[in-house]
Amino acid sequence: MLFHDLTRPGTDEIKVSDDSLLEIEHVTMRFGGLVAIDDLSFTARKKEITALIGPNGAGKTTVFNCITGFYKPTVGRVMLTHPRKGRYYLERMEGFKIAQQADVARTFQNIRLFPRMSVLENLIVAQHNALMKASAFSFAGLLFMNRYAKAEKEAVERAKYWLNKVGLYDRADWDAGNLPYGDQRRLEICRAMCIQPAVLCLDEPAAGLNPRESLELNELLLGIRDHEGVGILLIEHDMSVVMQISDHVVVLDHGRKISDGTPEFVRNDPTVIKAYLGESEDEDLPQTVKNDLARNAGKDV
């Protein structure tokens, strides 16, 4: 345990079960008057894929930003139980340290690669902290010491492993910005995996992928869960992905949690259906829209 919570002694031991990885407790995020997340609590477990779903504007990305340190939650606690290092309270840590020390990796909704660096370089930059340590803040490298050469070689091996996994090995020297969209998405996941994370947060990894790519993505994510043993937190709109691969689904609407359970449970939860499809389909609609709908329905027939 790196950080002891002195304000609430003892509560940790009671609440936390052994396999919990990430615990979001009573997190609220306000922007001025707007409440983006309202008293949200859920737990992501080790070696599981936890999906965070909900209609647009439900606050999913905001949750991610609170976990990965881009926002500081107004209220609440984000606790990571690192399988190798102990416990971290992420809401108290400076942004970049969450990735550096607590090993929380993430991808972005609108891909953020280093477009004018090569694919391989993208993966090596991700191993920055390990390489910095190995090269004694680059001084060893400046003096052409063996120890840096070795560390770099290891970094390249790790990069190769991931490149092979997603079929980018042949294009390792391309500029990342020149890759097709789907490959950029996969590369971003590889880059996140290269920091050897404890938890991997993926923000809509299947967005913009075609059905075949989407299937490949499922396999990649299942592989990460099963072979690397890394827990995944996933925001996704594509229900085929969510229902097929997630072990646990949390549903948000207007910043609140409205459902939490297995995919089957969530799929049949009336509150979820209501949130997605609207309460009563016809009555709220203006007359003109209803007319349009009626006309279109007629055409379809």
Binding site: F31, T61, F64, N65, F70, F108
Partner: protein
């Protein structure tokens, strides 16, 4: 190198903060300033303070008008228009030349002359603003961030040297056009607090222009187009806003205000040269950043603050380090309010 010819007009007023050390021999300023300080201190602290306030507001109005040009251009295309200070310098030169032309034509009725000079300066400076955008910036739209900046630095160097070649390197002195002023009050030690008619003219004109521009930006369709381009140029283009024309108009508007500032400097400080654009431009850009770049009231506020800082720093501390004070305060403000005083706090889009 300018210093040798200064003996020609040793009776020029002292508070020409905008022109800085180039036009006044350093040592001489120091001596006279100290002398003045003592006299004024004997005269009375309150009166001295008020006098500096008036001087600072005048200078600040001028900075503010130039700053608006920076802030509008930055807002709409996100570039530092480095040549804007030189556009201001050109405005000042056109004012001087128009005065001379009017003199040659025998038009000496001051209000008429002022109106004509104001219009001419605005029109011709606007053409400069438009041409610079057309030739040096428009072809670079959409290329990477630093390209237009370098192009702008090139334009700035070119304009400065073009004016130097065409008009000569010597400073251009101007006789006062509006003389006299109001004595606001006289304190017990017989020290007058004076606001000159010229200072009143400058402040009133600034307020009128600010009101006009605020109206244009917030109420007219042109203003809406500008704000649309500021938010998202591609989208604005898709819904039928003529993006090129809107950006050109922005440059023209900035140049018009810079021309007015140029005229004001000519009138207030009575002496200009081809180099005044750099320092004034830097200060005005500092003002824009201080106020929050992209914000119109911010630019004005920043301008006035910098004018006041300079006036008071020169009056109570040392005139030599007034630029240090200005930039120091800018750094302090940015550390604590990274988006400037009136800039919108940015929520980082992730």
């Amino acid at each position: 190198m300018k210093r040798t010819i200064l003996s020609e007009f040793s009776d020029i007023p002292l508070d020409r903060g905008i022109l800085s050390d180039r036009l006044i021999g350093k040592r001489r300023t120091k001596r006279l300033r100290r002398l003045g300080d003592n006299q004024q201190y004997n005269g009375g602290r309150v009166a001295y303070f008020l006098q500096q306030l008036i001087n600072g507001l005048t200078l600040g109005s001028i900075y503010g008008l130039i700053a608006i040009g920076y802030t509008m251009v930055y807002g709409i295309i996100g570039m530092i228009n480095f040549a804007h200070g030189d556009i201001f310098m050109i405005g000042a030169f056109i004012s001087v030349i128009t005065f001379l032309v009017l003199g040659a034509l025998g038009i000496t009725f001051v209000p008429l002359a002022l109106v004509v000079v104001l219009l001419m300066a605005m029109i011709f400076t606007a053409i400069y603003g438009w041409s610079v955008e057309r030739v040096a910036y428009r072809p670079l739209r959409g290329s990477f961030r630093l390209a237009p900046l370098i192009s702008a630095i090139g334009v700035s160097i070119a304009l400065q040297n073009a004016v130097q070649i065409a008009q000569g390197a010597r400073v251009k002195p101007m006789e006062p056009v509006i003389a006299g002023g109001l004595t606001l009050f006289t304190d017990s030690n017989n020290f007058d607090v004076v606001i000159s008619y010229l200072q009143i003219f400058i402040m009133v004109l600034t307020v009128v222009l600010m009101a006009g521009f605020t109206y244009v930006i917030t109420r007219t369709s042109l203003g809406r187009q500008q704000r649309a381009c500021e938010q998202d140029r591609t989208m604005a283009g898709l819904i039928g806003v003529n993006v090129d024309r809107t950006i050109s108009t922005t440059f023209v508007m900035g140049a018009v205000l810079a021309a007015v500032a140029g005229l004001m400097v000519t009138l207030q400080y009575g002496v200009i040269d081809f180099y005044i654009g750099f320092l004034a431009g830097t200060k005005a850009f500092t003002a824009a950043v201080l106020g929050g770049i992209g914000s119109l009231p911010g630019a004005m506020l920043g301008g006035i603050l910098i004018g006041l800082i300079e006036a008071f720093w020169s009056a109570y501390f040392t005139i030599e380090y007034k630029d240090v004070a200005t930039f120091g305060i800018l750094v302090l403000v940015l550390i604590f309010r990274p988006t400037g005083l009136l800039g919108k706090p940015e929520v980082e889009k992730v």
